[in-house]
Amino acid sequence: MSAEKKKERPVVLVTGISGNLGRSLTKLLHRRERIVGIDRRPFLGAPKDVEVFQIDLRKKKAEDVFRRFPVKAVIHMGIMHDPRMSQEEHHSFNVVGTTRILDACARTGVKKVVVLSSANVYGPSPDNSNFLTEDAPLMAASRFSEVRDLIEVDMLAHGFFWRHPELETVILRPVHILGPTIKNAPSNYLRLRHPWVLAGFDPMVQLIHQEDAARAMVEALSPGLRGVYNVVGPGEVPLSSVFRELGRAPVPVPHVLARPLLSLLFRYRLSGFPPPELDHIQFLCNVDGSAWVRDVAWVPRFSMRETIRSVDGEAALGLAAATPP
């Protein structure tokens, strides 16, 4: 088998491939690289040259994939962000899953690991500098304890980076990812017709298009590249300008009322946003992406307007261009 394995074309293993970001990544990468995916969810309409295994990352079967294929690189984005999932399940999936994947990488001679974390690990706060660098402390859980597993994943990867210098580990912390098919909190929030805003607060926000985020993961595969990187899209924009661009009518809510009100709505499942998410529309959580720009000559493809409008789908983009302002 090992003789056969040697002859085989090396593989880029992608965890969490069936998500919308995973699909963007697949589209970009599958003509250049041989891709094998792992996900609990099925990947409907996967390209023919992509093999997807429907398994749980925590299961031994996931490890078998490493034995079956000559894996040269792993892109680990099988990280769950679902505020409705039980804390225990969330934590176990993310932390145990990441541990297993990293272990497998170290044991099977993988050359490159890319872990998709997020700029949210720093956490929004009134004390934040306007642009946080990669060495800023990861404070997100101090105000929003439900995200501590996401921080743990980032730190696990960071620990792995130091313990295994023979591997090239890249940890990416992109800013809020938006896109026509993305269903994360920021995209969902921007899709609301009458989104809440906190009266008198209009923080600068950083956004990145899903395809730019996928491109960043592809860039991270470049040989020789290693380290922790904030990944910034086309820049910073006031939240109010984002809504202006989208033609939304935001509802200003006093911040002292917003928290209790939202926790009530969240508890009774009338809102999908956990109350600590309000920090993101009240305080800054912007990062300095200059290290990434310097090391991979990063230029996002999508302008700020295109990125913002992407939440309404590609159709809206064409329509908006056709109608005069």
């Binding site: 009134p126 004390d127 009266a199 008198g200 923080p203 924009v237 006031p238 033609g247």
Partner: protein, 286 residues
Amino acid sequence: MEGKPVLENLADEVKRSLRSWTDTLAGERAGALRTLRRPANEFGVDRFGFDVDYLLAAAAPLIWLYKHYFRVETHGIEKVPKGRVLLVANHGGQLPFDGAMVGISMLLEANPPRAVRSMTEKWAATLPFVSTVFARSGQIVGTPENCRRLLEADEAVMVFPEGVRGISKLWPQRYQLQDFGLGFMRLALETATPIVPIGIIGAEEQAPALLNLKPLGKLIGFPALPLTVTPLPLPTKYRLYFGDPLHFTGLPDDEDTELDKKVRVVKSAIQSLLQHGLEERKNVFW
């Protein structure tokens, strides 16, 4: 666009009328104000959220105060060098009109006009409206990283090393400089930035306070709660004395005692500007 919210229209309207008020008040300086450097993106703000047009609108009432209420007089503003510079001044008067008046003086009297970026208390970032107005008019939460970035971008940055200890001074402590933080000196050394000391006369008498209910303030989340004798600041006459630029060299991560020596040079420069100003004036109000 149809369905543009009423509030937004109103805000735009207010902004427009304030902007024309600024032009009226500025008189022959109106043209110069239009030449202000604007490193803005397609949404009209810089990376920090500073919007030059917003500043010129928000400045209108402050320009009025500058000209007609505090009747600000400046001395030596031409000493402020081009490029990066730290403006370091005494702080007082409960409300930060001292910072605002230095900012307006740099708009109205400096050649060419410059937008001063102040380092604000972190507390300001937690306040509705205040946080937004500050950010849009170029005032930034005072973290060392923010200050470093602005200086590296060759901005004029205003700092009050006395901080809250300064602004909440009680009446008997007026014009007595409180302890200076060392942070600004570290940044000046790191970025090779000249320091212009400024003595501000007038602000420290605008709102006499005899008592600071700090514990009660803490309870409602205020860093200080001085009880002032008058509900509004008094129309004291402001005099701004700009000193000669001070250049320091040394290690930014030197021991505190070494940094403190340099800070004391700045402090005594401000103290002597204050002394000179206080001796020169005949009256608090004119």
